[in-house]
Amino acid sequence: MSATTTTAIEGRPKGRAQSFQQRLKSGDDLAYAITFLAALTILAITALLVYELYVNSALSRQKFGWAFFYTKTWDPSGEQFGALPFVYGTVVTSAVALLMGIPLGVGAAIFLAELAPPGISSALTFLIELLAAVPSVIFGMLGIFILVPTLVKLEGPIRNTLGWTPLFQGPFYGLSLLAAGVVLSLMIIPFIISISREVILAVPNDQREAALALGATRWEATWDVVVPFAYKGITGSIFLALARALGETMAVTMVIGNDPRINTSLFAPGYSIAAVIANEFAEASGNMHTSALVELGLVLFALTIVINGAARLLVAGASSKAGT
């Protein structure tokens, strides 16, 4: 920070002598002030958001304390509230979405950026950007009318192959954690593809040419040189996708079954934080109920920070290892 300031002043030797007005006229300071204010609004919005969530959840925080995070009763009429089933549902559906979304998304991005003929690449890229702009309620409808019935038809094969795991036990009615995870994966894949593709395209051609000159095949150059080079950007796209998955509301509530219970099986219905807020907020039965829902918003905020932070640490660790 101080280094840049010094260079800036050195680069403009008369800077100190100039009056403030003159400096404003030259535009640099004006631009600085405006962009600084713009950046400040981000901080202000975030701070205000946390503050409002914190203040409006006072009733619930005082009554339940930390127990809010680890109890699993959600009973609006008995005024007993615990966030665990919703945290569980949010994390599990996002995990399923990433598990399916990362290989498909990154795979498609590599194909589009490195391997596909330009015509096909630009046509598909256009479609993907279109897909990223589809409102989530449309994904929810697709989920209800097409995906859920399809999953019900696939129940047999899934049970035959994965039925031995605890993840695919119990009766299956279609509306489930699994359905929510799959819908979420469809929604995040366009994000992963379009950003990862841009990042891979931005890798300097020298890198590819150098690898090819050393005798690498085209795939080797892509997988061993280009993808590691673009690693940070690709993980960035995955974080963005994860953030969308954690906070997605409409599509999830339409297919998850809205049942606040914790089940190991992905076949069972569940509930997510965003979905319960959307469903219950307008019709909340009392101040405690409203307060508990606001606290859930706070929990979602914290969850996003924790998961994103953990993922970033993971990436930082991995890339420093790769560097040595």
Binding site: P76, Y173, G174, M254, N258, N279, A282
Partner: protein, 340 residues
């Protein structure tokens, strides 16, 4: 063309400026009577252009909340307020909140069992299913009431409302009356702690999931089941008869209650007496503040109530709502005087 258009616009603007100021009255609440209310408010506005009613169908819990907070001029609910809720209103405003029954409705069990279009439900069966104790469609409690119907040995999928709802209030009120087990474990609530089941958002959510998921059962208002052509079952009433919900059977359920109607109109008519009464029937109420400071609004609301209880009642059956019994109308006419 353009000139004409401009001319017309100017004319309209002038006319709008000339008409006397409108009294705008805002209300919010129950979604079940919304088609009726919207028809009433529209007809009333055409008849008396000086009054404009604006109603948002946000649900009963929302209506109670907004009228208590004072953000609307009146509320509407499918379930009467509890004593606590009335006290909360009184504490905040220093005066009471009045209930005015408007029409009658019914909540029906809807189901999706392939090849079955009509089912009889005993109160024990409904309570058992929604408690999670009866889990198969061929349970003896169901088969004994449905001789000749081939019920599958499939798991029953229960679907309920995901958000607070007046429909849920009526449903749980009924189950609490017929099942001590339900009363002890779950009780009457617009937002109960459900022992089993999937949650659907709104009546559309519940009916949509019942349509989607085979072997499922849910509950919606009668009008909703009729309009969406979903199979709904008969329910055994307190006289032991299996009754199909209809305008006649709902009106019959209100008949007895009309004679013993309490002064504040807070009455539940679920599990009503009478051999042809549908047992899951209910009044739906407008919630009107006892004290209305604005004289214009007060006149608008009291005039509307009088009109709704006379001319308005003749419009109900065209929209599949049962009209109020005469005794109730007379009693309400007197109660209007309580509005100050």
């Amino acid at each position: 063309m353009t000139r004409n258009f401009i001319g017309a616009t100017v004319a309209v603007a002038l006319l709008a400026g000339l008409t006397p100021a409108q009294t705008l009255i805002n209300g919010a609440g129950a979604s079940f009577p919304y088609p009726m209310y919207s028809k009433w408010f529209d007809s009333y506005h055409k008849k008396f252009p000086a009054f404009q009613f604006n109603y948002q169908s946000i649900g009963s819990s929302g209506g109670i909340k907004q009228v208590t907070e004072g953000t609307v001029d009146f509320g509407a609910s499918d379930g009467p307020l509890t004593d606590d809720q009335l006290k909360a209103y009184r504490d905040k405003h220093g005066s009471g909140l009045l209930h005015f029954p408007t029409v009658l409705g019914a909540v029906v069990p809807i189901f999706h069992v392939n090849g079955v279009s009509q089912l009889n439900f005993t109160p024990e069966a409904l309570a058992g299913i929604f408690l999670g104790k009866i889990t198969k469609w061929d349970d003896p409690e169901l088969t004994k009431a449905n001789a000749g119907v081939k019920l599958p040995s499939a798991n029953i999928v229960v679907v309920h409302r995901a958000e607070g709802s007046g429909t849920t209030y009526v449903w749980t009120d009924y189950l609490s009356k017929v099942s001590p087990d339900w009363k002890g474990k779950v009780g009457v609530s617009a937002t109960p702690n459900w022992p089993v089941g999937l949650g659907g958002k709104g009546s559309e959510g519940v009916s949509g999931q019942v349509k989607q998921v085979p072997n499922s059962i849910g509950y919606v208002e009668l009008i909703y089941a009729i309009q969406n052509k979903i199979a709904y079952g008969k329910v055994r009433n307190s006289s032991g008869q299996f009754i199909q919900a209809s305008l006649a059977s709902v009106t019959s359920a209100a008949g007895k209650a009309a004679k013993t109607m309490p002064e504040d109109f807070r009455v539940s008519i679920t599990n009503a007496e009478g051999s042809d009464a549908f047992p899951i029937s209910t009044f739906t109420w407008l919630l009107i503040p006892e004290k209305i400071a604005d004289a214009g609004k007060k006149k608008a609301i009291t005039d509307f109530l009088k009109w709704m209880l006379t001319d308005g009642q003749n419009m109900t059956e065209a929209l599949d709502y049962a009209k109020l019994p005469k005794l109730v109308v007379d009693k309400e006419m007197k109660a209007i005087a309580k509005i100050q």
